[in-house]
């Protein structure tokens, strides 16, 4: 396989479609990474050319991406989280996000109470809705059935079992706690 370094001219844009790790300039495709040149035919007329590295290049949370995060703190208006995964790729560095009260669920937004939805330490599946502005971090939402708390621990310290879309139960004490529970899709479980 061919190796390339940033700035190497790979081919004309008439021969290939630019994929990842490349950029287009004056009708030619150049490499923007040091790695292996990969040509893939994806049913289209032209092959897609991209440059890949041994390790997954650093992903950043983007709008629309499903992220896995850990709740760090809650207050009546929003929950603060740390983003741990983008899709199935772990992040090397920590990125902070915010789930606002009105983004917790899709219905009855005005009746949401954050402490009945999340608790610090919960693992939450969420979707990025905005990269945020100067003051705020990434804005996330859990307003979908598939999004919400996936792992939570009860006050007794046991991992709780979801019993409805808004409740989880402790297997030890059988006490119920409120959460915005995610209906985890089987394909996410594999990931």
């Amino acid at each position: 396989m061919k190796l390339c370094v940033p700035g190497d001219k790979l081919c004309s844009s008439e021969d290939c479609i630019p994929g990842t790790g490349v950029y287009l300039r004056h009708g030619y495709i150049y490499s923007s990474l040091a790695g292996y040149v990969l040509r893939k035919n994806e049913g289209e007329e032209l092959p897609v050319i991209s440059v890949v590295r041994e390790t997954e290049t650093q992903l950043l949370p983007d709008v629309g991406a499903i992220v896995t995060c850990k709740v760090t703190s809650i207050n009546p208006r929003f929950a603060k989280v740390h983003i741990l995964y983008v899709g199935s790729t772990p992040l090397k560095d920590r990125f902070r996000g915010t789930i606002r009260k009105e983004d917790v669920r899709a219905t009855e937004k005005d009746k949401v109470e954050t402490y009945k939805s999340f608790r610090p330490g919960d693992i939450v599946l969420a979707k990025v809705i905005s990269l945020g502005d100067v003051q705020s971090n990434y804005l996330l939402t859990t307003a979908e059935n598939e999004l919400g708390v996936v792992v939570a621990h009860s006050e007794a310290g046991a991992q709780m079992v979801p019993i409805s879309w808004c409740e989880m139960q402790c297997p030890l004490t059988h006490s119920k706690e409120f959460r915005k529970v995610a209906r985890v899709q089987p394909e996410y479980l594999q990931a």
């Binding site: 396989m1 190796l3 370094v5 940033p6 700035g7 190497d8 001219k9 790790g21 950029y23 300039r25 150049y30 923007s32 990474l33 040091a34 790695g35 292996y36 590295r53 041994e54 390790t55 290049t57 650093q58 950043l60 090397k92 560095d93 920590r94 990125f95 902070r96 990269l131 945020g132 502005d133 100067v134 003051q135 971090n137 990434y138």
Partner: protein, 315 residues
């Protein structure tokens, strides 16, 4: 210090019996070699350096400061004058495992290393960060890197180098691919033997490529020094700082950072006093010097990629 604890060599030979006693710092000590023992046992303020406030390197006095360098004939290290004769460069990627990417570069006795961290969340925020990422650069000299001892605290010269490094690297990085995040580049100069900035640029771009940061092109640096009618490429520390015998006509230094495949100059800095023609010719010379480095850097980078993923090369 009026009563120094230092025994004078002309004191009476050590006989085990001290000649007289003095008090110093509230403690008794004896003149003569025994005094040293007491001196070291004293509760001293370890943070205070017991020396004069201003000190100078003895090298200033040992050799003539205005060491005149010959402006003709071969250079001290055997390279040719008026030729694009750069020092052979040794480069390696990935020496710091904790960093996202790193590189080490050696050119003659100039040794420096660079680490790249990120992209990570920015600590400082303003509007520009929303659309594209931020590059932060930090260049430091180890205190022992120059003939005179430097300080660990970043001086204004180091800040200037950091800024030049930033300006040279920024055009090459696809910062729009890293919104809301920052990429940190730090260069540590271990030994300064001239042309530090030029080599720092090369080393940093190699570390960025090693980190997998998307870049439009590699950045290569080269510097030259004009001395009257002759010039030297990739000057050593002596050539950079020594003054020549000829008058100060047309003298100066130039550093260029160059993107070889895009044919763009991303960094340029000159000082001294040169004519426009000399400067133009100097820029061309430096570009030529950058092209000499290009294959070496390419090879080092492909080697690093191959080392990281040997299995892929067979597929």
């Amino acid at each position: 210090m009026t009563n120094s604890p230092c025994p004078h060599p002309d004191n009476k030979p050590f006989s085990g019996q001290p000649e007289k006693e003095k008090t110093w710092g509230g403690k008794r000590f004896r003149a003569g070699p025994v005094a040293w023992v007491i001196y070291f046992n004293m509760p001293t303020d370890t943070k205070r350096v017991r020396g004069p406030e201003v000190s100078q390197s003895p090298s200033l006095f040992s050799c003539d400061p205005a060491a005149v360098l010959p402006s003709k004939g071969p250079r001290a290290d055997g390279r040719r004058r008026d030729q694009v004769d750069v020092r052979p460069v040794f480069v390696r990627c990935g020496l710091v495992s904790q960093a996202k990417g790193s590189a080490y570069l050696e050119a003659g006795n100039t040794k420096l290393m660079c680490c790249v961290y990120g992209p990570r969340e920015t600590d400082r925020k303003d509007e520009t960060d929303m659309k594209c990422g931020r590059l932060t650069t930090d260049m430091r000299f180890a205190p022992f890197s120059c003939p005179e001892r430097g300080s660990w605290i970043q001086g204004s010269q180091d800040k200037d180098f950091s800024l030049m490094l930033h300006e040279s690297l920024q055009p090459a990085i696809c910062l729009h691919k890293y919104p809301r995040s920052q990429i940190e580049v730090s260069v540590m100069v271990l030994e300064n033997s001239g042309s530090v900035l030029a080599h720092a640029v090369t080393c940093a771009s190699l570390a960025l490529a090693d980190a997998g940061i998307e870049m439009y092109d590699l950045v290569l640096g080269c510097s030259m020094r004009q001395d009257g009618t002759s010039y030297v490429v990739d000057p050593s520390y002596m050539e950079e700082n020594g003054c020549s015998s000829v008058s100060c006509e047309n003298q100066g230094g130039l550093t260029v950072a160059f993107l070889p495949s895009l044919n763009q100059i991303s960094g340029l800095q000159s000082d001294g006093d040169m004519t426009e023609e000399t400067l133009t010719a100097g820029v061309r010379t430096c570009i030529e010097g950058c092209y000499k480095l290009y294959p070496v850097i390419q090879r080092a980078l492909t080697k690093a990629v191959r080392k990281a993923a040997p299995s892929q090369s067979e597929s």
